[in-house]
């Protein structure tokens, strides 16, 4: 299937990526061709097949409820593009 320009813009908005006018057309062509190609999967009969999200067949291991981490404030702020009083700072959010 081909992807419309409108859809590209919606996806870009979801992914929070700005794209310029000239990029949109290029992406339209490229993503449409990738989509056409991946649709060869439709040849495969997957009736009654369980999806597989990880090749590991064991289950989740759990850790004990112990506080052994968490005082990493200064480490975390060390790469921050904008901080004040130990907070990250971003342009005002209006809810």
């Amino acid at each position: 299937m081909t992807i419309s320009k409108d859809r590209i813009l919606k996806i870009a908005n979801l992914a929070k990526i700005s794209i310029s006018e000239d990029q949109i057309e290029k992406l339209e062509v490229e993503i449409s061709s990738i989509l056409n190609w991946v649709e060869t999967l439709n040849e495969v009969d997957t009736e009654n097949i369980e999806p597989m999200s990880n090749s590991l067949t064991n289950f989740l291991q759990m850790r004990e409820d112990i506080v052994n981490d968490g005082e990493k404030g200064s480490d975390i702020l060390s790469n921050s593009p904008a901080e004040d009083k130990s907070f990250f700072v971003v342009p005002k959010v209006i809810e």
Binding site: Q61, M62, V67, D69, G73, V93
Partner: protein, 491 residues
């Protein structure tokens, strides 16, 4: 019950076009009681300086990975069992993708298709004493986000990640509630259950329990109307106010010929109104998919059974038992089971004593004293044993009701036992006839003209009784005094 359209709803709002039924469903976010966060070893405690309970995982530094906290899983199962719900042996963690500055990963780890807990039920007793049953659709585990502060700086929002990654249970009800009162009672009941289970402290001021409220209105018998979701309401009172406002708003909209738009709204505490969220997230497309950093969670039955054994007696069962064992009425039993500690206190006091007298002292004197002192029952200056001893002194006649109240006050202040106070201060009741007789004689002799009057108006006898008790500094047994006054005056 349920979304089924009933021609005779439990509750209606009368309006210009007739009766309206309100349909409410809740999504409760309950913070799990645990030491550390859901997927990291940071402290899950409330408050602290900004960024003081934050690990590299909570801040979503590159390459960081989640590892699940067993205690949080256990708490979710325990809650599920407490809600009489099915526990799913197989559950999956999904990522819910959206951008927000207090969501460091750019996704929230939650459970979408395969939650850890399935359908359950909660009984709620309404004010008229009738019961309704609210169905639980599911309960799942998820991470909390950080906290945004919009009032520190006029141009900026400030982000703290202390809360980021704390474990939450999202408990979703079916649309089974029909009024603000029902919703408030449901949340109160749910909170009681969570506190019994010790899976959530239910502290709404600290944000441990928050509700998203789905509200719609319809004419009785109609299909469900379009709903609006009111986000993140954090007190039981506000839940009621938000529902009242929102249901009225929807009725007014429809009655003035408008349609309800499905949207997310915010409850403004200062105005008591709801308003649409400005940040529309119009394309609410969370792109849930299984978190590839986490494998499916597989619970073996032994693990669940261990939790089942630890399960405490829950409010409904406790109420039934208290009514049965102590012959309490429903009203008293409800008061006692509203907090697990009340009932525990009661059962110590009531052991071998009159249950009704015990409830009355607890719900009367004790609760008002604790309230006055802003203390919890487990901080009570009067232990359950000491209150029991006081009740013993009433029962054996050592103390009159009035004296007992005085002793109670001294117990509050000194934390001494009732017996010690009575002995130290000579407060025991005068019951022997000769002592009382002397007092009665004294009052009669001093008030000859009153004696004449009382013979005309026998109701005045109460004045004599009062004077005698006053003379005894409150210690004379009132019924004995009454008896002797009548005898001496010759009535």
């Amino acid at each position: 019950m349920s979304e089924n359209n009933n021609r005779n709803p439990r509750f209606v709002i009368e309006s210009q076009t007739g009766d309206w039924e309100v349909v409410i469903g809740l999504e409760i976010h309950a913070q799990i009681t645990s030491n550390s966060k859901l997927f990291s070893g940071s402290s899950a405690s409330y408050g602290g300086e900004p960024m003081s309970h934050v690990s590299l995982v909570d801040a979503a530094m590159p390459g960081m990975l989640p590892v699940i906290n067993k205690q949080c899983v256990r708490q979710a199962i325990k809650t599920g069992l407490g809600l009489k719900a099915e526990i799913n042996n197989y559950s999956v963690f999904d990522r819910k993708n959206y951008f927000y500055p207090d969501l460091p990963q750019g996704y929230q780890i939650s459970q979408f298709k395969y939650p850890i807990v399935g359908e359950g039920i909660v009984k709620v007793t309404l004010k008229d004493g009738s019961d309704i049953y609210v169905r639980i659709e599911r309960l799942h585990l998820e991470q909390d986000a950080g906290k945004s502060f919009h009032d520190i700086d006029p141009q900026s929002s400030y982000i703290d990640l202390n809360r980021s990654g704390i474990a939450l249970m999202e408990i979703v009800t079916k649309p089974d509630l029909r009024s603000a009162d029902e919703a408030k009672l449901f949340v109160t009941k749910l909170r009681t259950i969570l506190r019994y289970l010790e899976t959530c402290d239910g502290n709404m001021e600290e944000g441990s329990l928050r509700a998203d409220i789905n509200v719609s209105v319809r004419k009785p018998g109609d299909e469900l109307g379009t709903r609006c979701e009111i986000k993140n309401v954090n007190s039981i009172k506000f839940i009621g106010m938000a529902i009242d406002y929102e249901s009225r708003r929807q009725i007014d909209e429809i009655e003035s010929g408008n349609e309800i738009i499905q949207e997310t709204r915010l409850f403004d505490v200062s105005t008591g109104k709801t308003r649409p969220m400005r940040n529309k997230e119009e394309a609410h497309d969370y792109r849930y998919f299984p978190d590839p950093d986490l494998l499916p969670l597989n619970l073996d039955q032994g693990f669940i059974d261990e939790i089942l054994i630890e399960l405490p007696e829950l409010p409904d069962d406790k109420k039934d038992r208290l009514m049965d064992q102590y012959k309490l009425n429903s009203y008293d039993a409800d008061i006692l089971v509203s907090d697990r500690k009340f009932a525990e206190y009661f059962e110590v006091v009531a052991k071998g004593r009159d249950p009704k007298l015990s409830v009355n002292w607890i719900s009367g004197e004790l609760f008002s004293a604790l309230n006055r002192l802003s203390l919890d029952i487990d901080q009570s200056p009067i232990s359950a044993d000491n209150l029991g001893e006081l009740i013993d002194l009433i029962t054996d006649g050592t103390l009159s009701g009035r004296l007992a109240k005085d002793v109670f006050e001294i117990m509050l202040e000194t934390q001494k036992s009732a017996k010690i106070i009575v002995n130290e201060q000579g407060m025991s009741q005068i019951t022997d006839e000769s002592s009382i007789e002397k007092l009665v004689d004294k009052i009669i002799n001093e008030n000859a003209e009153k004696v004449a009057q009382v013979k005309e108006k026998p109701k005045m006898v109460g004045w004599f009784v009062g004077q005698v008790i006053k003379e005894s500094k409150g210690k004379a047994n009132p019924s004995k005094v009454n008896e002797l006054v009548l005898k001496k005056i010759g009535l």
